[in-house]
Structure formats: C-alpha cells, structure tokens
Assembly symmetry: C2
Homo-oligomer: 244 residues x 2
C-alpha cells in the first residue's frame, strides 16, 4: 500500500483486538489411512471438541518459523515437509477475539508420526474421512480408533478439508507423496500413499511406470526384509525433480 493510505489508516489503538496465529495440520498415515493429530480442548469455547495444534506468531518471527516452533513444541517433531496452506480470517471464527490464522500443512513420515505420539500423549491420531465427490468438501469427518466421529472446534473442519483438497491436487504433479514415507520405500508403499490420499484405487503397472518416467525415484538395489513372500525392491526419492 502507499504511505498515504498507511498514515490515513494507521491507528495503533485499532489493532489490539487482532492477533495472528498459525494452525498445523499434522498429517501422517496410520494403517494406510490419512490421519491427522488433534488435541482435545478442556475449556470454553468448544470445550471437549478437538482442535488442530496452533499458537501465536511471535513478535519477531516469520510465519514459517512460528509453524516450525509449534511443531517442535507441541509434537516434538524436528523436521517435516512443511508448506503454507491457506489463511483463515473470518471475524467470528474465534468468539474470544479476532484471530487471523495461517494454516500450515506438515507431512509426517512414520517415524515423525510415532515420535509425536510418544512425545505428547494428548495428541490423538484421527482418521480422516474425505469423500471423493464434493470438491471443497466440508463434508469431511474425522474419527478416533473406535470409529466415533470427533467434533472439530472452530473452523478446523474447513481447514482440514482445504488441506486434503490441496494434497489431492498436488499429488500427481508434485512429489509430496514421498514426505509421508521413510527414506527408502517400496513401490507398493508409494502406491498405498497415493491411494490413501486420493481415495481411489490405482492401476499397479501404470502407477509404477508413471513414477519411473517422472524421474522421481531411483532403485537402491536392496530389498525389503521380513516378508513371508517375495520382498520388493527399495527405492529412493530423487531430490532434484521438477520443482514445487
């Protein structure tokens, strides 16, 4: 904006009621199902409801640094694929005060996912039920291990729906799928990830060819272990694919 506008509308006393936070979608896979880590609220508003972990953005902190800090403090996760998702700013999304929240999507591999559960017992893994149809599908729901629906606080259902939508959209033209896998993985594991996120079955030979043709993966020459049948070859993610 121009300086004029700034001076015209700059009034420190107009700001105190507005805060900026980050909310985190900590996403991993559990039994081949997309799963988000949530916390139960123990006070009003939305007491008893489940919420995405979040926190205020520090005075001298970048948005991404705030997201990283929250991820480390609340889940003990040091590194993960972290990307800004969308910013939610409806005036009444939090009844206490005006809060603008920048949502970040964190993709956890199995190690990070279990580490988070071990470090913070309050975190609950919630299976995400995302119907194929509705494009912006707020028809999303999350369930605990007993298959009971969990009520999400604030606009967190909308945030989660946005996350799944984004992830589905990026799946076949960007290598986000690898963020949910360990460093070495089999093609079957990679396909499971894609099927879990997209919510539909994929053709095996075709999937395999696509991944190879995109140049995203390299064979390691080693095989998985501990199977009672023919073990599959392990692959590595190629760090230098086409961007994004």
């Amino acid at each position: 904006m121009t300086q004029d506008d700034f001076l015209a509308s700059y009034d420190p006393s107009a700001f105190p009621q507005l805060a900026v936070t980050v909310d985190l979608i900590l996403l991993g896979l559990r039994n081949q199902a997309p799963t988000v880590l949530v916390l139960q609220r123990n006070a009003q508003p939305f007491e008893g409801f489940w919420a995405l972990p979040g926190g205020f953005v520090g005075e001298r902190e970048t948005l991404e640094a705030a997201a990283l800090r929250v991820m480390q403090d609340k889940a003990g996760i040091e590194t993960a694929h972290l990307e800004q998702l969308y910013t939610f700013g409806t005036p009444d999304r939090d009844p206490r005060m005006r809060i603008v929240s920048v949502a970040y999507l964190a993709l956890l591999n199995e190690a990070a996912f279990t580490a988070a559960l071990r470090q913070n017992k309050a975190l609950l893994p919630a299976r995400i039920e995302a119907p194929l149809s509705h494009e912006d599908a707020v028809a999303i729901s999350v369930r605990n291990e007993d298959d009971e629906v969990l009520q999400l606080a604030f606009d967190h259902a909308e945030i989660l729906a946005t996350a799944i939508h984004r992830l589905r959209g990026k799946l076949d033209y960007s290598p986000v799928g690898f963020a949910l896998l360990p460093e070495q993985f089999t093609l079957r594991q990679l396909q499971d990830v894609h099927e879990a996120i997209s919510g539909r079955a994929l053709n095996k030979p075709a999937f395999r060819r696509r991944m190879q043709d995109k140049g995203w993966i390299s064979p390691t020459g080693t095989r998985e272990e501990g199977t009672s049948f023919r073990p599959a070859e392990l692959f590595l993610f190629n760090d230098r694919p086409q961007g994004d």
Copy 2:
C-alpha cells in the same frame, strides 16, 4: 489452539504492533502480455518505487471482503475472479511495523482492466517479464510502456512471482484462463491467454481439442466481427465444469 495456550499467551499489549493487510495483484492482458496494475509510492520507505495496491483489513471484515473493498476503492472494479494467493509475514517486510499481508490474485478481463485505468489515473499498467526457467523465479521483472524496469517496493516482487507461478500451475487443470477474457471469445483469444501466461507457444489443433474435451467451452453459433479475414466462431465459458 487450546484455551490453555490462549490464556498463557494472551496479552493485549503484545499485539498493537502487528497489523493484517491485503495486497492485490490486479492482473490483466495488454497487447497479449500479462500486465499488473501498480501505484507509485510518494513517501518513504520505498519512495518512488512501485507497489501493489493494498489496505488494512477492517475490524469486522473477512479477508476476502477486505480484498474486494480495496479492489473497488482503488480500481473501481466491482467484480473479478478473486482468489487468495499466499500470506507474507516476514517481520521486516515493512520497516515501519510488523505487517502480515494476505495477497489476493484478481484476474481482470479487458473491460475491468480499462475501467480501472480510467477510474484511477495513478494506476500504471506494468508488463510482467517472467522467465520460464526458475520455478519460484524471483527473477521476475516489470516494465512500463517505454520498456523501463520498474522497481517494486517491499517484497512485492516476490508476491508477484508467486502469483505468476500459481497461475501457470493452475492454467491447464483449472479454468482460470477465462477470467481474463470477455464473456464471448474466440479460440484464438483463449489460446493467446494461455500462451501469454505460460510464456510458451502452443499447438493450435491440440489446444482446441483439449479445451473442447475438457468441456469448458460451448460454441455460440455467432462469429466475431470486424476482421478483414474469415471471422472465428465465438465461444462461451461453461459455468459448470469440474471444480477449481
């Protein structure tokens, strides 16, 4: 976030130095080149530099409403394709105070574009030079009609680069291209838009087939007028394609 965290970190006196704004990328086409509308700053900081129009988010205003308001006030544009782009929050992006800015991408058709120029004489159309290579290309530059490079204020070059990157990514799987065209258009015009945004030439019959097969367009049965050669058929954008 949880109520605990809220109470623990809630301190009104900690907020006054933070504000939330929206910045607008008003994007249209001029001589088949992607063009952004910018304003010249007449005060420090970045005096003489060029900036994207923006404004503070009102106390009881959604982010999108703020973007719409700025679009109407600063450019006299009532309707345009408006979508949230990304949120920029580096602490020092504005030297005066901490400002978190939610960038919105507004796609203008020719009517809206010229209306904006007529309504606000301070708005300058700046041609965008976006190299193909660099993915996140901050190697972007904008030039005035005399082909002189315009220095952009704040982090607005980065914002603009993000906008072009997003637009290129969405071009072939989402119908954003139509937002830059009048209601009725020829296939040649549509192809020009795609070529201008993507920055590369496209094959004509293949492009034509793709658009038809995607079900995005319908023939009107009428033809363009005023050409000195065979006029092309006019098409309409189908409002109910596959979403986003």
